[in-house]
């Protein structure tokens, strides 16, 4: 029987998620922000996987869903960024404020 890794794994997941959140809040580059979002998604995936190991298979299913959505999101998001860069010649989020009131 492998050692009980539930606690450490959840802690890792939490650390990864927090790094993602902080990165999303603090960085200005849209690509980095995008990567931070991916990091948050994968941190959640890690939590699902470790829960699945101890409490049943439901977590695995959700992980596949998240991966699918993340793939779709990556495709759409990168396309948007491409268009944004063509338009603005920059991906600095502070220079992109078309929605200000």
């Amino acid at each position: 029987m492998a050692p009980d890794l539930l606690g450490p794994t959840l802690a890792l997941s939490g650390i990864l998620f927090s790094i993602g959140v902080l990165g999303a809040l603090l960085r200005r580059n849209a690509i980095i922000l995008f990567m931070c979002v991916e990091l948050m998604l994968n941190a959640v995936n890690l939590a699902f996987v470790v829960f699945a190991r101890y409490y049943g298979f439901g977590g695995h299913v959700l992980v596949f869903f998240v991966m699918t959505v993340a793939a779709a999101e990556a495709a759409v998001g990168l396309a948007i960024m491409l268009a944004l860069f063509r338009h603005n010649q920059t991906l600095d989020l502070q220079d992109i404020n078309l929605l200000h009131g």
Binding site: A24, L25, R28, L93, Q94, N97, L98, L99, G101
Partner: protein
């Protein structure tokens, strides 16, 4: 016999209504088709007259029911309140339909000549036909709301016809004045209707008459109803304090003055009081008020009539005065005498107005021929017209003798009956002796101003002008013809209620008995008999003769200057010429304060400042402020949004986990 069988009563309304629709169509599309209008307009009313006669004959037949009612359709049904569009032909309304369509038809015929060269010929007849429709709805309506349709409708037609020549500001103003004055009266009618429903639980005239016996005599409810009805009638029938619209209403074409403002519409108030006799019989105090208003109006308007120079103004104040006499009659409980005078007045006042119309027509042509701008209605410009207009002069003399109360003529019998009835009430309440005195004085004034009118118009030297005299002429037969018929009625109209002393059977009194049943027990007039009766009659005749002679002689003795040479009036004569300056007083104390209130308080303060400024713009500004605050968060910076999102998520998480 089932009710409504026999004469198709709805035809009575349908004919003039069809006339109105056809004439309106012509007025809009082919206004020059005057021939067709001359056929349709009077034809529709004369056809209605034929139906009215048929209806009358059916009621008059032996064994006939007292009334015929037709229910056309349901109008209002709400809880206990059920109102049908229903019309009732009873003895009173049958008489009124005869007067309205008969006199109305003759006036339509007269109008063919009078309005011949007017551009609005088709429009004129459309209005006139519509008036007949509404007047018939008014007299035939079986309940107060249905009558109210007619009541408002005739007011509308009156407004349209007073302002018929709306190109002149004064005419349009006169129309508005009539309408607004009548609205005040309509308030009274409406209140009376609501109170009747509240107190008796019905607004149907027949049921009101039936249930009126439950009323507490002189109780607050019945007194309030009667006084509100009296207010409505004071508006429609031009009584103090709402009479000032009627003299101004003379701005309309003269046949309109004859039809609406003398013979029919203005008598609607008298009709309504008689129709509600069950209520008035239970309200002696309110009846006394009606009688007092009538007596005061009769005398007041009579004095004004003495010093008017516009021929139509004299007749207008004469009408107000005569309506006052009718009010005095119905207020004294002499309902038959009131209706009798209503009918005879319709005849002789129609003659006087139409005769005046012929005179104005001739004068207008005379001045038109020389392009003079002199006033064709000012009696100071007339004089000696008998030479050119023998027929008009003779017929107007008949009507003058009738209104002055000279025996044999129609007005003698009706006015005498009013005077006798009022006098007979004096035995119970001494104040009626005073009313009788006022009415007798009014008779004297009536005779004086009528003598003056006739002398100034038809007698003595002509003052129209040398060049103009050549164009003076008698009116065409289409105008004198109806005048002659009405003149005959003014002569013989007294026959409908010929008193016993003259060998008659007081037909009208018996005819109206079913209608007056509700008040029969309560109002018992003990008419003077024997020597008292003849003394009263002798006095009334003496008053009439003296007045006429006085009026004629006063004109003959004085030399009358044409308006441009006339010296300004002085003293009391100036007050009378100025109609006691009532218009100015109303203007100063009612119209202008209302204007001020409407402008400063209602418009500038309440509407512009409170509603527009504070309420409408204020709420918009407030929301705009909130919007501005909210928009400060919309920086477009994704970082801020994210931060708020995370903060929100942490907060929600904190709440959930707690």
């Amino acid at each position: 016999m089932s009710p409504g069988a026999g004469v198709p009563l709805w035809l009575l309304l349908l004919f003039p209504l069809a006339g109105f629709i056809i004439n309106t169509a012509i007025a809009f599309t082919r206004p020059s088709w005057k021939g067709l209008v001359s056929l349709v307009g009077p034809g529709a009313v004369l056809a209605a007259f034929a139906v009215a006669v048929a209806g009358f004959l059916q009621l008059q037949a032996p064994g006939a029911p007292d009334e015929l009612t037709i229910h056309l359709w349901k109008w209002i049904e709400a809880g206990d309140l059920k109102i049908d569009i229903a019309f009732r032909l009873d003895h009173l309304s049958s008489l009124m339909t005869l007067v309205v369509t008969g006199v109305g038809g003759l006036i339509h015929l007269f109008s063919i000549g009078y309005m011949k060269s007017d551009d609005g010929y088709a429009r004129y007849f459309a209005y006139l036909n519509l008036f007949i429709v509404f007047m018939l709805v008014l007299v035939l309506g079986s309940s107060m709301p249905v009558m109210f349709i007619g009541w408002e409708g005739v007011g509308l037609c009156s407004y349209l016809l007073i302002g018929f020549w709306y190109g002149v500001q004064a005419n349009a103003d006169a129309g508005k004045k009539a309408f607004i004055m009548n609205r005040i009266g309509d308030f009274g009618f409406l209140m009376a209707m609501f109170l009747t429903w509240h107190g008796l639980g019905t607004v149907d005239f027949a049921e009101i008459a039936e249930k009126s016996s439950q009323l507490v005599t002189n109780g607050p409810l019945v007194t309030a109803i009667a006084l509100f009805i009296a207010l409505g009638c004071a508006g429609k029938s031009a009584q103090i304090p709402l009479y000032t619209w009627l003299p101004d209403a003379m701005a309309g074409p003269t046949p309109v003055s004859a039809l609406i403002h003398a013979a029919t519409m203005v008598t609607a108030g008298v009709y309504l009081v008689v129709r509600s006799n069950g209520i008035f019989a239970h309200a002696p105090t309110a009846s006394l008020v009606v009688a007092a208003i009538g007596a005061a109006t009769a005398l007041f308007a009579g004095t004004i009539g003495l010093r008017q120079n516009d021929i139509k103004k004299v007749l207008a104040f004469s009408t107000v005065s005569q309506l006052g006499l009718m009010f005095l009659a119905v207020g004294s409980g002499a309902y038959v005498a009131g209706i009798f005078h209503l009918v005879t007045h319709a005849f002789f006042k129609a003659v006087l107005f139409l005769g005046a119309g012929s005179v104005i027509h001739a004068m207008h042509h005379a001045y038109h021929s020389t392009h003079s701008h002199a006033d064709a209605q000012d009696m100071r410009n007339m004089g000696g017209l008998r030479r050119w207009m023998p027929w008009t002069s003779a017929l107007m003399w008949i009507a003058t003798l009738a209104i002055a109360g000279i025996p044999v003529f129609a007005g003698f019998f009706s006015k005498d009956e009013i005077l006798a009835s009022v006098f007979s009430r004096g035995a119970g309440q001494a104040v009626f002796y005073l009313f009788w005195g006022l009415a007798s004085l009014t008779s004297l004034l009536t005779a004086i101003y009528m003598g003056r009118l006739m002398a100034m118009t038809f007698m003595g030297q002509n003052r129209t002008g040398e060049a103009e005299q050549a164009a003076l002429h008698e009116a065409p037969w289409v105008m004198t013809g109806p005048l002659a018929v009405l003149g005959l009625l003014s002569l013989a109209g007294g026959l409908i209620n010929l008193p016993h002393f003259a060998g008659g059977h007081a037909w009208l009194e018996h005819w109206l008995e079913p209608v007056l049943k509700p008040s029969h027990e309560l109002v018992q007039l003990t008419m003077p008999e024997g020597s008292t009766e003849f003394a009263l009659i002798g006095f009334a005749v003496l008053v009439g003769v003296v007045g006429l002679v006085w009026g004629v002689r006063a004109v003959q003795r004085a030399s009358i200057a044409t308006p441009e040479h006339a010296a300004p009036e002085t003293g009391f004569a100036r007050v009378l010429t100025g109609q006691y300056f009532i218009d100015a007083i109303y203007d100063r104390f009612i119209v202008r304060p209302v204007h001020w209130f409407a402008r400063t308080v209602l418009w500038k303060t309440i509407d512009q400042w409170l509603v527009d400024g504070v309420a409408v713009m204020g709420s918009a500004r407030l929301l705009q402020g909130f919007g501005w605050l909210g928009s400060r968060f919309q920086t477009g910076q994704l970082g801020l949004y994210l931060l708020l999102f995370v903060a929100g998520a942490v907060w929600v998480l904190g709440v959930v986990l707690q």
